[in-house]
């Protein structure tokens, strides 16, 4: 059919094969993206508040370590993660508290209280924070985070396990 600009039989086959192939590829390909990303798009629930210490156990002026566990269901398994922090009583006043997170603000290693150094040391990249969580030296860009807390009449300290930015 030379000279005719009608679609040839061969071209028709090529185009339909390409089109059907494209539809099948999209039909499998697009759902696959959702499939791969599903766990990343899940909404996490806010943690329930937890009791972490009692006021009467905490010395004044020395950071007091506490830890708590958060269990989440990931896929077919419960994953328990331990988080922790330090409570600093700045004075006799029961409300004069600082509840710090022990998560280093650099790359999330856990800091430890070091009595001799008089600060929190991070083992990963040699950072130091002071008693109140301010950066003394090292790479962390900001002070340690803290938790909001409540104290009941018996002196139990309850925190909401969501880290807030330090001031």
């Amino acid at each position: 059919m030379s000279g005719s600009n009608r679609f040839s039989r061969r071209d028709f086959i090529k185009v339909t094969t390409g089109a059907i192939g494209g539809i099948i590829a999209a039909g499998v390909g697009i759902p696959s993206i959702g499939y791969l990303l599903a766990p990343a798009l899940r909404q996490d629930q806010a943690g329930k508040s937890v009791v972490v210490a009692n006021l009467s156990d905490i010395p004044i002026g020395i950071p007091y370590p506490f830890s708590f566990t958060i269990t989440r269901i990931n896929g077919w398994e419960r994953t328990a993660n331990v988080f922790g922090g330090f409570i600093l009583r700045k004075s006799e006043d029961p409300q004069d508290l600082l509840v710090l997170s022990s998560r280093c603000t650099h790359l999330s290693c856990r800091v430890n209280w070091d009595e001799q150094a008089g600060g929190f040391l991070c083992p990963c990249h040699d950072a130091m924070f002071d008693k109140e969580g301010k950066v003394v030296h090292g790479p962390p860009p900001e002070p340690l985070g803290h938790f909001e807390y409540e104290i009941d009449d018996a002196g139990n300290i309850t925190i909401i396990p969501i880290e807030r930015k330090g001031e």
């Binding site: 499998v28 759902p31 696959s32 499939y35 791969l36 599903a38 896929g75 077919w76």
Partner: protein, 222 residues
């Protein structure tokens, strides 16, 4: 702009020989045939679909007796489109066995296995056995009652071979019983060993088909 793409394509073609590849692989002359001649390509398509969906399944599937079943429940109920990916893999497996067998029957009926295509046929037999092996090993992976007992029975049948049956049974199960070892080795066979062999044999099969071209249907002379 059009010139740019033209030049880019030509640049690539001169180095990769794309046109030559295209002509030899996709635009090669074929004798007059019919829809039965498409079943080999259909087998190939189903194989690739199984490979793609299978890879996606391994993103969540866990081959341990403790978690295999739960991980599949998770795929079916919680992962977006998990039911679709698993559904395609599940039904595709049965369909592939069916299509491969019909493809074999077609090449038998049209006597395509004769000189010079004997090796194409033999490699095809290997591919059929591997396809069945994929079905056998894949069937155990959900680790539910049906899978467990089907594999108990299947390996027991293999165990009924005279003299070496006991050894075959132990080799398949990785010991005397169905266990974590059985699940793990079936998984390895299903995702690594058998597919690797299939890729090799499919490559050989396709090479032979392109080399010899497709057979003509037998006519009165034959």
């Amino acid at each position: 702009m059009q010139n740019f793409w033209k030049n880019a394509l030509q640049w690539l073609d001169e180095r990769l020989g794309l046109n030559e590849l295209y002509q030899n692989l996709l635009d090669r002359p074929e004798p007059l045939g019919n829809w039965w001649n498409t079943l080999g390509s259909a087998s190939l398509f189903l194989f690739l679909l199984q490979v793609a969906t299978g890879i996606f399944l391994t993103v969540y599937y866990n081959p341990s007796p403790d978690h295999a079943y739960d991980s599949i429940q998770y795929i079916m109920n919680e992962v977006a489109f998990g039911w679709l990916i698993r559904g395609i893999h599940h039904w595709g497996a049965s369909l592939m066995v069916l299509v491969v067998i019909i493809h074999m029957l077609r090449t038998f009926v049209t006597a395509s296995y004769k000189y010079p295509r004997e090796l194409t046929w033999l490699v095809g037999v290997g591919l059929l056995l591997l396809t069945l092996g994929m079905g056998f090993t894949g069937y155990l992976l959900p680790w539910h009652q049906m899978a467990y007992w089907a594999t108990t029975v299947g390996t027991q049948i293999a165990g009924s071979v005279p003299f070496i049956g006991e050894f075959i049974l132990r080799a398949l199960r990785g010991g005397p019983d169905l266990s974590a070892l059985t699940l793990q080795r079936f998984f390895a066979a299903h995702i690594w060993i058998l597919p690797a062999l299939m890729f090799a044999l499919i490559g050989l099969h396709l090479y032979l088909i392109i080399k010899h071209g497709e057979s003509h249907f037998p006519d009165k002379e034959d």
